[in-house]
Symmetry: D2
Subunit: 380 residues, 4 copies
């Protein structure tokens, strides 16, 4: 594979590389790791790359890789650059005939996202979006339970994603030290918190429940003075078909780490999953003992089992879940390269459509919040 972005010191680039490495089937062989050619070059050395495959710009990379023979060229590119670059970079590679695995959010805006959808469709290339929390085996188990009807009709969804890391900015700010690009609307888009993590909560709820979000009544807040984008947001949500819910995300929830949790309530049973204890899925049937389904057991369904590497009690976690997105996308990419037909059940990774919904979700939330939390429909 190749990579765009993710040079020295970048968090998410490192995660993508570990995820790709894990199973010993994907090798990083080319990249453009920074807009600064020197930094890109040094990063390439860190990763033991042939210097001739370390590029100064993504345009150069797309152009040069696409003319290499299959087998030698990269099969796909991982895009881990900033939000405002996703569209341009993805477009360049897709049009060069190279498959794409892309960080979320999909793009800088819904409009840009829709243009990207057209590019994807016209190119016929594989496009995977790393909503990585859907890669956890017990999340897949949860989804299978819903699909099998074990929960009955779903009435309510509560998805929460509080983080607390931004609170330290209250003190840093005294020193004038705000530098995170996520806070910059010209890079990040119309939202910071909802865009960065709210979309994970929204996507996870959709993935498990299968429900389509119809409209939101949101309030986005900016608690850190001097910022223009949200660092916290809560909303009531309505799903098509009558289910209701609450989604919230926050970066100023002091002391919380990466506390993504989801609860889905049906007429027969409810589910509860906590990202920080990912090997367990809590299942509550009405008037029965509470159940804790644990990863790696013989009672797990094939959906979870396929994405399980170690036996029960040998916990898997964030990197393994991330790697599962790579596993599923690689399957699709391999099939595409070999000309194999897609499996009837499809592939299990987030697609351009998840990305479009995410962008529509962000824009609806921002619009609702500006309109005093009026119910606002997602554009489709």
């Amino acid at each position: 594979m190749g990579m765009v972005g993710g040079g020295r010191g970048a968090f998410i680039g490192a995660v993508h590389r570990m995820a790709a490495n894990l199973d010993g089937k994907i090798e990083l062989i080319a990249g453009c790791f920074s807009s600064d050619p020197e930094k890109s070059k040094l990063s390439g050395q860190d990763f033991f790359l042939d210097p001739s495959r370390v590029y100064s710009s993504y345009e150069e990379m797309a152009a040069k890789e696409s003319v290499l023979p299959v087998g030698e060229r990269i099969d796909f590119v991982s895009i881990v650059a900033r939000n405002d670059l996703h569209y341009k970079v993805a477009k360049a590679f897709l049009e060069a005939g190279i498959h794409v695995i892309c960080e979320k959010p999909l793009a800088f805006s819904l409009e840009e996202g829709k243009k990207l959808r057209e590019v994807v469709q016209q190119s016929g290339m594989v496009f995977a979006l790393t909503h990585n929390y859907t890669g956890y085996p017990m999340v897949k188990e949860a989804r299978a339970m819903v699909q099998q009807g074990k929960l009955g009709r779903i009435l309510k969804v509560v998805a929460e994603y509080p983080q607390g890391y931004a609170i330290t900015a209250l003190k840093e700010q005294a020193d004038g030290a705000i530098s995170n690009w996520r806070m910059d609307p010209s890079v990040s888009g119309v939202s910071n918190c909802i865009g960065d993590i709210g979309t994970h909560a929204e996507n996870l709820a959709h993935y498990i429940s299968g429900l389509e979000l119809e409209e939101v009544a949101a309030e986005l807040n900016t608690f850190i003075p001097g910022r223009t984008l949200d660092d916290d947001g809560s909303m009531l949500v309505r799903y098509k078909g009558g289910a209701r819910g609450v989604i919230y995300a926050s970066q100023i929830s002091t002391g919380d780490e990466n506390n993504l949790n989801i609860r889905i309530y049906g007429t027969e049973a409810s589910l509860e999953w906590h990202q920080e204890h990912p090997n367990e899925l809590i299942v509550k049937f009405a008037e029965q003992p509470r159940q804790v389904w644990r990863r790696g057991n013989s009672y797990n369904g094939p959906e979870a089992a396929k994405y399980t590497r170690t036996p029960f009690g040998h916990p898997e976690a964030f990197i393994e879940a991330f790697a599962n997105i790579y596993v599923a996308a690689s399957e699709a990419i391999t099939d595409a390269i070999l000309g194999n037909p897609a499996p009837i059940a499809g592939y299990d990774f987030p697609t351009i459509e998840d990305g479009i919904t995410g962008m529509a979700f962000i824009e609806a939330a921002v619009k609702s919040s500006k309109n005093n939390s009026a119910w606002t429909k997602l554009e489709s």
Copy 2:
């Protein structure tokens, strides 16, 4: 003490009696346990009462008890009758010069609540409302932490109260077996779920945080067909001073029991408390190890210590917390009877003002929900 309501088979009456019994300082000596005189009489036998102190109506009870000599007559009455009777019964006893401990919600409506406030003020009697969850020692510890400024400025509150018991009504209903008075607007008032348990979440958030609720944007739902009142509801909330939050309550959250949880986020630290594990208070300071404060330890403050009966690790729970409301109210009643001045710090039990806020909260939530979740201020 005396009791109105709470005859054979009533849940909350039995809880009040156990709470009153626990410390061996309060004795039930009179009552009107049912609107059915025969049932009232039988209940009186269950409780080993002198038959002459078991009454056929609350009016009779108030009249007859009030003319007994002090020491012989009841010092106070516990009102555990249905919502629509709270006002009338409380008024009768207060005006007869008898102190009152009353179940929540305060009254049938905010209007009625306000009338009751006038009665309380004019009577000069003690009036305590059993928002019992504020009786837990670790809730008192939480409140003390906030008051001491340990959390910094509070930014966000999340209070949730999902129960799942009503979901079984989906099946019962097939048999036409809906009989719970809580579902009957002529008894319960304008709300079922928000009135019954949402007010607990609201009151708990207020008690710990000290914040005043300003307005709500709510959606109340009725998932059980054939019902007219809400069995679920979620809302965004705004507190005076800029804090924001989410409050939700539900009776159709399958498999949840009495899952009242609260999280309060400040600029320096956050708190987390779970009613089903009440002996622990989770405290998270930014960039420090998470702390678990546990009941009964030497590091607990005097606010919690005063309401602690057993040493650490010998858990206390629901009944003990409920009894703490009785302990605090008894203090006030004793002081009133003996003519002692009130302590400077005041008494630690919910008052008529908590009740008024609760009623305003219910009515604002219902109004907002009817108005498509528009932000709606609490009437004061």
Copy 3:
């Protein structure tokens, strides 16, 4: 009821009184609360007793109460005095025809315990021992599961009871401030830690599993310098029929509170219960999702349901469990007084036999430890 011991400031006496009060069916009417008559008198005032029923010695109390008419006299006495008095006090009341509820351990020594057994048998009176942890509803549920064969054949038992409170003695000692009678062999008997809490672990394991302890290989330790009795002890155990196990208790396990836990492993399933989270029972069937059985649900068996006061999610805890010993013993006492036949299934409280086993357990553990942990059989 009457009480011997448990005056002002005594922990366990207060617990017994709350336990007796809780259900409003037992009234404390007489007592000898201290060997110091003045202190006994003052304690009697605290409890609102008629001064004529507050005695200067237990002998006087037994003598005077036993000649009062039934209905006026105490129906039973609660003995909460120090270990070395249990035998003498119990004997006095039993021989005076008064039923007894007695704190554990049963007596000062196994020999004394056996003499007490004879007294109990000859008197025909009810004798209940407050191994209070068997009063928890979910412990009763656990026992019922074992009896129903749900666990299959039991292979292994692990019962642990670490407390940490004694560690502070390391500093107190510097001030020469050791005064706890539990450390005094002339009051406490041959063991402190194993006698005080080890017996609870042993009794709980027996109550749930139904297994009979055959022999132990123990090491008792005294970590606090200057003490003569154990403050920690661990042992391997062998049950009749082939099950094996580990039991340990400790008072120097820094930071642990009252951390009694038990795990019972059978060929079909295992159980796990934690005293500090008593409303849950964890059940693990081979190759099935883990189950959490929770108190107060419709799926609980009659054994637990009978001793349940509040609905699910409204937690019960230590005092309620303690009160359940009083409930069960009161049943037996009432039947004895009224001449009712005992129920076929018997009563559900710990008896003199549990006490004898406890004493044999203590003595075997001490003997094994002195004999370099050699396997030592329990005397029967």
Copy 4:
């Protein structure tokens, strides 16, 4: 790297490969994956190896690899073959001048282990043993706390490792289907359960506490009929310097998965760590709120931070911990190859000495058990 053992279908071989892959710095380039040359060859294809580097025997592999030029030849070999082969294979590679990472237990017997120690010493090569549980960051944090004296003097250690997987053999056996080599004394050595997992508990306790095990009083059990080796075992332990403890391991603890837990009690504080929730370390100082130290925070010490890949709340787990053994061993191997001096603080991976202690532990436990649990010293 190269690998011996771990062909298709082998659990632990796959774990080693993922651990080695994770950070993108180690590449599998040679192997002898099975004693069956055909199976070895097919496994080599699975791993995309050059067929010329897939060998039919470990002897051949050691011989041929050792004559390749540095840079081309393998830098080290991972030995994941069965217990009885560890010594022979390790010896072959060490003597050929190739560094070794070896699965535990070290060898078939203590005697063999001692011979291996001599080989290691004479060769001067790096030898790392994969006691992988010491690779967890929060385990390293725990160790650092002990070294810094935060716990005071350590009094007690409780290490438990119950698994339940073997219980299903009760049914399989009916079908005569016992095939696991761990049960075969001619392959596994004198112990199954204590050797396989008891040594992990022992090593983890030693790693964190720094204590040296002096003697054990053990009972090993064989609950599955027809087996000759233990499937369960418990023991009292004495450490040099006066600390006492309990260690047990089990494979018949129905429903438990990989439930390795450790508690270490000191005079000032105690620690608690649970392998199935590895990102948290519970720390209990006397009379202070309980602390939960979590991975990835700014308050973590350098020992943990060095082995942390993802930020707080993005959990790491089994494979990452395993990979940390590879990271540390790779450091040593790189230094050895480059001729760098070892860091003053040494390397952080288990060595031949850990392996020797493990073998002595196994043999002492077996000997004690055969001698009716008599206290038995570890041979050194």
